[in-house]
């Protein structure tokens, strides 16, 4: 079936089977491989994307459910010049990236939170990351990076 939506501000129309996930649509039909398949059952958050401004697990969204919506993937998160944005820079500055597999999801979960509030407490940041698992960092540095970004964006 024909699935039409906006991904990273570009309109796309894709012919795809009705029974695949949004994650497979992004990766296999659109070549957007930033969203990862970790668990495929909603437990890890590696497949996180924003759908109409809200964080979702793209492995739990049926591809045709995305029809008519606005999707933001990690490929659409960057500075105006195409380089890393402030949150991504802070992930590096604060040592929040090790193997990297969880990071696209972590950045999107962070962006979803920062869309809602620029004054999150550390507890709120942890709650916002509750569906995103990281096997490497111990989360502390990721929380630091999001906290620092919130502070910088407040001061802008």
């Amino acid at each position: 079936m024909l699935i039409q939506f906006t991904v990273n501000k570009k309109s796309v129309a894709v012919e795809a089977p009705a029974d695949i996930t949004l994650l497979d649509l992004l990766r296999d039909y659109l070549g957007l491989t930033g969203a990862k398949e970790g668990c495929a059952v909603g437990e890890c958050g590696a497949c996180s994307v924003l759908m109409d401004g809200r964080l979702v697990n793209s492995c739990l969204v049926l591809a045709p459910q995305a029809d008519g919506s606005e999707i933001l993937t990690i490929e659409g998160v960057h500075a105006p010049d195409g380089g890393l944005n402030d949150l991504q820079e802070n992930f590096i500055t604060y040592g929040a990236v090790q193997c990297g597999i969880c990071i696209p999801g972590m950045v999107l979960a962070g962006e979803a939170l920062l869309l809602e509030t620029l004054t999150p407490t550390r507890a709120e940041i942890r709650t916002a990351l509750a569906g995103n698992l990281c096997r490497c960092t111990g989360y502390q540095q990721i929380v630091d990076a999001i906290e620092a970004t919130a502070q910088q964006r407040r001061n802008q």
Binding site: M1, R54, L55, V56, L62, Q65, D67, A109, A130, G131
Partner: protein
């Protein structure tokens, strides 16, 4: 060949027509957080999913006089953010906030939670505590059932083929009633609870209980209010002793219904503490 087809409904009338199509076995699709996990491992027992997640009539949260109306396609996030529910149904808001992580709360719906009817479904105790009624619609008409009658057991409901839960209604609790929800889970965010509790209550001018509801989750095969415990609290002063006795009584009622099982030893102690703690929050003066 796709294993099933997909169609989006734009109204309840259209959804009901699609779901009742005798030619194509169809099921509703809400946020997909149960369906997508299921079809990953199992062969879907239907040929088509009818997406009801954007039907405007099923997304409302409104107060009409003495009644609250909550659409079945309302997500946990939408419910938790609703001022109407924050004011009238704190137990439901707390239950919604306890579900999964943010991404699950942004997709999962109340209708899907009730229709799926997992033993540990987190919306059930609060909906039952509020005496919520589920409104169902199919090609053969409409009917309304208490949520506690709609859910007949773990993963079992009285929903018939082609039937859609359109919305829930419940009476606005009397002025001054507070409610609360507590759940025991292994992990803060993603744990699917094994026991939970919703309670509502109010004290009169003398400090005695003049309104009380108690509804445990995942304790009995069919969710229900523990009216036996409510009756022992009514008219009494909620002392530590009384609340402890209410906790023991809750455990007794549960065991009376389920019998003793391998898990009873743990659940008996846990449900006792959970009932006590949740009642204490609901009855805090």
């Amino acid at each position: 060949m796709p294993r099933f087809d997909y169609v989006r409904a734009h109204s309840v009338a259209e959804a009901v027509q699609l779901l009742g199509d005798p030619e194509i076995l169809s099921r509703p699709l809400g946020g997909g957080t149960d369906v997508l996990v299921f079809v990953r491992h199992e062969k879907p027992p239907y040929d088509r999913l009818v997406d009801i997640s954007r039907v405007p009539e099923m997304k409302i949260i409104e107060r009409h006089g003495g009644e609250i109306v909550v659409g079945a396609a309302v997500t946990y996030t939408e419910a938790a953010e609703s001022p109407v529910l924050q004011e009238a149904a704190a137990c439901l808001v707390e239950a919604c906030l306890s579900v999964g992580g943010p991404a699950i709360r942004n997709a999962g719906t109340l209708g899907g939670n009730v229709a799926n009817a997992a033993a540990c479904a987190d919306s059930l105790p609060s909906l039952v505590c509020l005496d919520a009624v589920a409104h169902l619609c199919s090609r053969s008409g409409e009917r309304a059932l208490l949520v506690s009658d709609l859910v007949t057991g773990a993963n079992r409901t009285a929903l018939q083929r082609g039937e859609l839960i359109t919305h829930f209604t419940f009476p606005v609790p009397p002025a001054g009633v507070r409610s609360a929800f507590t759940k025991l889970g292994r992990r803060n965010a993603q744990a699917i609870s094994r026991l939970s509790m919703a309670a509502a209550g109010r004290l009169d001018a003398q400090g005695c209980v003049d309104f009380v509801r108690l509804s445990p989750g995942a304790a009995t095969s069919q969710p229900r209010r523990f009216t036996e415990v409510e009756a022992m609290l009514l008219g009494q002063e909620p002392t530590d002793e009384l609340l402890a006795a209410a906790g023991s009584q809750t455990a007794e009622v549960m065991i009376g219904m389920t019998g003793r099982r391998w898990s009873t030893e743990y659940k008996e102690v846990a449900i006792q503490a959970l009932a006590e703690r949740t009642l204490r929050r609901a009855l805090a003066g």
